[in-house]
């Protein structure tokens, strides 16, 4: 290492040259005077399970945060009220994130990247403005996390403990799997590994609520699809394994776009907000949880009643 400007190579974890003697005995060298204080658990058990948890899965930069903010914005601005849940205070970060979502989407600013190894939990109540008694308010807990962490499950790896705890808990989970129009072909394996991971965690895919979203559909040059076959053929072509799985288990799929995006001053901005795909997604989410459509017209008697009251 005489060269002052020597180029460094990344340290690899794999090429350990020195072999160390293996010991299979349980290491019990620590004398008894030492004791290890039990840390005040930064507990991984999940509190307030009384909600419907929405879990976003997808690579970094596929648009999970965008989809979440668009859904929240749609629900809040078009079909009802989405408000913080009483009794389960959101963390300060969640509050900041939520207000950022609402503030920025109106100004056309896309959400920041999410940082690693953390799950921000947004506890919300969605009250639809539909008056039918079949369309009740629902508790929704959105789990916002970074895409980087999802890579950790590759080749049988484990999730970061903060995410793992949600998957292990016995809570109603809805999975929104996101892949982007541009990188879908790279995500086929990862999505399958995620589905395997879910099976390992006893989440039977036949009974679980899951949807595959192809995001950034606007990159295809258009903001809609002519017919469902277009989306189907895209998925069959780019995500063949996932497509089989979706067909076999009857999972849902859709595409997503936030609208049209222009680059101004080196920054991408939304110049036309399109909530139609967010609408589809929000309605699917509601229907998959409650079992009735968000725009359910009411029972027979309710329709008669509404015809008088309106």
């Amino acid at each position: 290492m005489n060269n002052d400007n020597e180029n460094l190579k990344p340290l690899s974890l794999d090429n350990e040259e020195e072999l160390k003697p293996l010991s299979f005995e349980t290491k019990n060298k620590i004398s008894n005077d030492d004791f290890v204080p039990i840390a005040k658990a930064t507990s991984n058990d999940i509190k307030n399970k009384d909600s419907n948890f929405v879990f976003f899965f997808g690579d970094a930069g596929t648009g999970k945060s965008v989809i979440l903010s668009a859904m929240l914005y749609y629900m809040r601005s078009q079909v009802g009220v989405i408000r913080p849940k009483l009794g389960t205070p959101n963390t300060k970060e969640a509050q900041v994130l939520l207000s950022d979502f609402f503030e920025n989407i109106r100004q056309g600013i896309l959400p920041n990247r999410s940082d690693r190894d953390r799950v921000i939990r947004l506890d919300l109540v969605f009250e639809p403005n539909n008056k039918s008694s079949k369309v009740p308010p629902v508790n929704l807990t959105f789990l916002e996390m970074s895409g980087e962490n999802h890579k950790e499950i590759k080749r049988g790896g484990n999730y970061h403990s903060s995410i793992e705890s949600y998957l292990n808990a016995n809570i109603p989970l809805t999975f929104i799997m996101v892949t982007s129009f541009e990188s879908a072909h790279k995500d086929d394996v990862l999505i399958n590994e995620f589905l395997d991971e879910l099976e390992r965690k006893n989440k039977n895919l036949k009974s679980v609520n899951a949807i595959l979203i192809v995001s950034k559909w606007d990159k295809s040059g258009r903001t809609d699809v002519d017919n469902t076959e277009e989306l189907d053929s895209f998925i069959y072509e780019r995500l063949p394994m996932t497509a089989q799985r979706i067909d076999t288990y009857g999972l849902s799929k859709t595409y997503f776009t936030i609208g049209s995006i222009v680059n101004s001053e080196g920054l991408d901005k939304i110049n036309l907000l399109n909530l139609s795909t967010a609408e589809v997604l929000s309605k699917w989410l509601y229907r998959s949880i409650v079992g009735y459509d968000l725009d359910y017209e009411g029972t027979f008697w309710e329709r008669i009643k509404f015809s008088f009251t309106n």
Binding site: K92, V96, N112, G147, S180, E182
Partner: protein
Amino acid sequence: MSSNINLIAFGTFGNPNGFTQTFFAGNSNLAKSIRTFDINTSALNLFPNSKVYSIRKELANGCNAIAYSIYTYAREQNSTRGGTFIGSSILLIDKIAEENIIINCLNEFHSNLKNKNVQNDVIKVTHSNDFSVSRPKDFDKINARLREIGNPDFARTTNRQLVVYCETNPNQLQLIFKKAVDLLDVYDTIYFTENSEVAEFVHQKRIFQLVRKDGFEAEIQKLEEERQRKIQTALDEFARERERLEEDRKRAIEEYKNQIEQNERLHLENERRIKESKNELNCIGQNYEAFSKNIEESISRLKKGEKLESIRQLYNENKRIFIDSIYNQKKAEFLRTIPKYGIKTELKVEKPIHSGQKQYESDSHSYDHSQPKRKAYKINIFKVATIVLSLMWIGTLIYFLFFHTSEDSIKNQLQELPQQQVQIEITDSKAIIPELNPVPNVELNENDYRNVAKNLNYNIKIDEVVKIIFDKNPTDIKGTYTGQEENYGKHIIDLNKDCFEEREEVYFFVKDTLRHIPSYKYNNL
């Protein structure tokens, strides 16, 4: 090269890798155990031309680690979203080095990293492993003057972050870093920036605490005061302890002296008693000898032929004196033992408390005491439920075994009761009408009772009806039931109730035909 000094480069690479970090020098075993250098993007954001330094502590593989890092703005390749950056870090294990060398190395390493990998604020590679980096000139000098890390408690994480808005030129920064190490006791990570945009962002989001330079000094001051206060309390405590110790000492010595005096008294007393006992011992010998002499004297006097009675009397007298003297003899008293005085002190050994373990200690303390209580008072709901359910089960069983059967018997009684009543009714009616002798075995056939009916008149008395029946059936009825006419009449009334009417206790025949006329046929048998 010492593996205690680690050089790490990291950045955000967008789709698909996101944030990654790579060790370029040092101990790659640590790579898996250290936290990420990612920034909480909702709290702190990098902006074009902005720079953020940070210092943070952590426990990596059980080692105390302090990381000095620098973050500058950089965009991901395929997106323009916020919260992206490129950064470098020097992570030191167990010991820290001269701040100026660290800062120089860090700045050099990072500017190199930026030059080689960032173009127009966009990171050109897709993973931190692909970074091309070069070794800082003075990197080996870091090793030269290592010193121990001072105060921070590495095991405790507070989850608090501080952002300091201050000048970050190398001269200022080395002073700040030096001071900041102490403050890591309170904050996990401290960020420093001289960029007002970053500071404003932090302030706006209010997730991290933002202070200016003076605020930072105040924080350190506060920490120092807090420490001083703790030291002062410790000093006070020691002083109090010393006072208590002095009192304790006096009391202990006093008590010990008293005890010694008491023991001395006891000792003298014992000595006196021993002397007395020795005297007593002499007396005992004399007594026995005297009585023995007396007996001998009595023998010799008897041999000389003196009177037996007077000798016997004398002997008895001497014997009585001897026995009295033996009984009056004091027994040798046992010595009272002199107790060894055990010194007691009211001072107690306090368990050594590490500042980090204090919480746990107090917890375990309360655990010790409260746990058994809790066990005692806490009712296990499952146990209770089991007991209640089994009681109910047993109760049900008992109910069916005893009460249920008794209910059956009651039912039986109830069923029996009407039968008895019926029987009673029957017997009652039979009591009124005594059986005929012999009991009738047939009734007259239609031909016969029509024959009887021809002779019956309306409104005749029962006696006359019986007479007519007897006349018309001389063998079967008259022959059998002569002498029982009255009784037979009653049977007729009973069998043909609707044909008779009672007037002044006499029955009158009010119809035209008697259909039931009891008879007795011998050849039937």
